[in-house]
Symmetry: C2
Subunit: 302 residues, 2 copies
């Protein structure tokens, strides 16, 4: 498999897949979501299964020029039921992955972590954003800006492993991971730098596999080869990071949104670490963001 | 005074100043630094005072086509002495502001905080970055990504006041400040959101003056009017923030460097809160960054 360098590469790869993934959409009456799902269906990437209030789904579909009769629809009376039905479909092998429509993320996640019908897989669930930054020529993963507020060392290890697994499905067997801080040296007064160094050490000792971890490292050294050279940074990541790990949810969120709003990046995001990928794009996300999220999570099904 | 919207505006303003600012450069044997200082001198923005090893300064000047004889030079035998002499020049009224050359930032700051010769002003010193993001049409301040590691509530208040004071000198009497987190609602489990709300409240009650403070607020709501509208965010900052405050030094540093490396922004940075602005551009900074830092700090002298 060739290494995927853009969302366009990802689309081409997904189009070549022989078996279409079945995508269960919880509370599918959101037009941006439906627009993205219908595009993925048209390109033969997914078979949608729409869950939610059928009258509202009908209206949303009609606004996009489609009829309810063309789809598999599970009618539910409220968001909580929609979330539970969509999750159950994945759990029972009737769908391959999951996407949030108009329901709040917390409703969907409650069903996901439910002991009986849920999709927990004993691993930590984390949010992984995939960004296509103009001119860069590779996709960048950022985690975690949406799920784990203040990860400790072992949670950061799991976040790295989750993100690395996504990049493996993108044809990158050994992605380079930068554990970001403000500096490149360990400062005992800054626990984030100590943990970053520890993660790099765990990687060097084979405790974190399937990737190359460097840290502590600042954004410019992780992303700009010239800065890495100029600063004489001695590490396995020299401006060529694939995955950026932040110390907390706020930093991850700020980074993703700065790259999205101010660097014209394209974006995908989904939750990894459950039995199936879960697309939980925010309310503000465009149909294109949601389509890219479907692509990235469909590709990550392997 | 017109509001300054770009580094070009800032240059034009500085060129119009009748009295040139005197800039003391500590360890002035760095070529990028000298290049920036010489450009500012040519534009009649500053009168440089070069402090450091005169032989090394002579060599660096010669590489740029200049002679030592054309400058006021204070010879010193090492970085620590260079820092102390440069700081003393400002303290004694012989220079107006200060710039780091080839010496480590910590050497310069040790002299700055020295009780006898230093420039401490009883206020918190913080680092303020000024960014010109392509297409945005206004300058953005980010603080603190370089000086205060983990500011508490009152330190964040001081950081806001320091950054607002810079924007006042840029002709913006009431800059809009976004205290960034990952969400717009207060979550008691996330102290950063509680503090952001408290800062907005202190501003509303007149305890933080000369600016408009909103928080907690995420980057996209602070910077993108469309997202603010779509999310129905109810606050005084609606995608039109001038100043962004981060909860810790790592987040600030990541944000600044993402905007610089991945969004083609132009950048200036200096320390505010001492008796004079202090330019401490990093080793990796270009001559252009350093020139912009001279512009911004010269303008902030008022």
């Amino acid at each position: 498999m060739l290494r995927i360098q853009s969302f366009d590469d990802l689309r081409k790869c997904c189009e070549k897949m022989i078996v279409k993934s079945r995508l269960a959409v919880a509370a599918a009456d959101d037009e941006h979501t439906l627009e993205a799902v219908l595009k993925a269906q048209k390109l033969e990437i997914v078979t949608p299964i729409l869950v939610g209030d059928s009258a509202r789904i009908k209206t949303a579909l009609a606004n996009l020029g489609f009829s309810l009769n063309d789809f598999v629809v599970y009618h539910t009376s409220d968001n909580i039921e929609a979330a539970r039905v969509a999750v159950s479909l994945v759990r029972d092998g009737k769908a391959d992955f999951l996407m949030k429509g108009s329901c709040p993320t917390r409703d969907l996640l409650r069903a996901v972590v439910d002991n009986e019908i849920g999709l927990s897989d004993k691993r930590l669930m984390s949010h992984c954003t995939i960004l296509e930054i103009p001119g860069l020529g590779r996709l960048i993963g950022v985690s975690d800006g949406g799920m784990v507020p203040y990860p400790d060392l072992m949670e950061k290890k799991a976040i790295i492993e989750n993100a690395a697994a996504v990049f493996h499905t993108f044809g990158n067997d050994n992605p380079k991971v930068g554990v970001l801080t403000s500096i490149e040296v360990v400062n005992p007064k800054m626990p984030e730098t100590v943990e970053a160094a520890k993660l790099a050490e765990m990687n060097a000792q084979g405790e974190i596999k399937g990737c190359i971890v460097a840290g502590p490292i600042s954004y410019d050294v992780a992303m700009d080869p010239e800065t890495a050279r100029y600063k004489g940074y001695d590490g396995p990541v020299q401006g060529d990071a694939d995955i950026l790990i932040t110390h907390d949810i706020h930093a991850g969120n700020i980074l993703v949104k700065a790259l999205y709003c101010s660097a014209n990046s394209k974006l995908a995001g989904f939750i990894v670490g459950a039995k199936a990928p879960i697309v939980v794009s925010s309310r503000g996300a465009s149909a294109e963001d949601k389509f890219n999220s479907i692509l990235a999570s469909a590709a990550s099904l392997g």
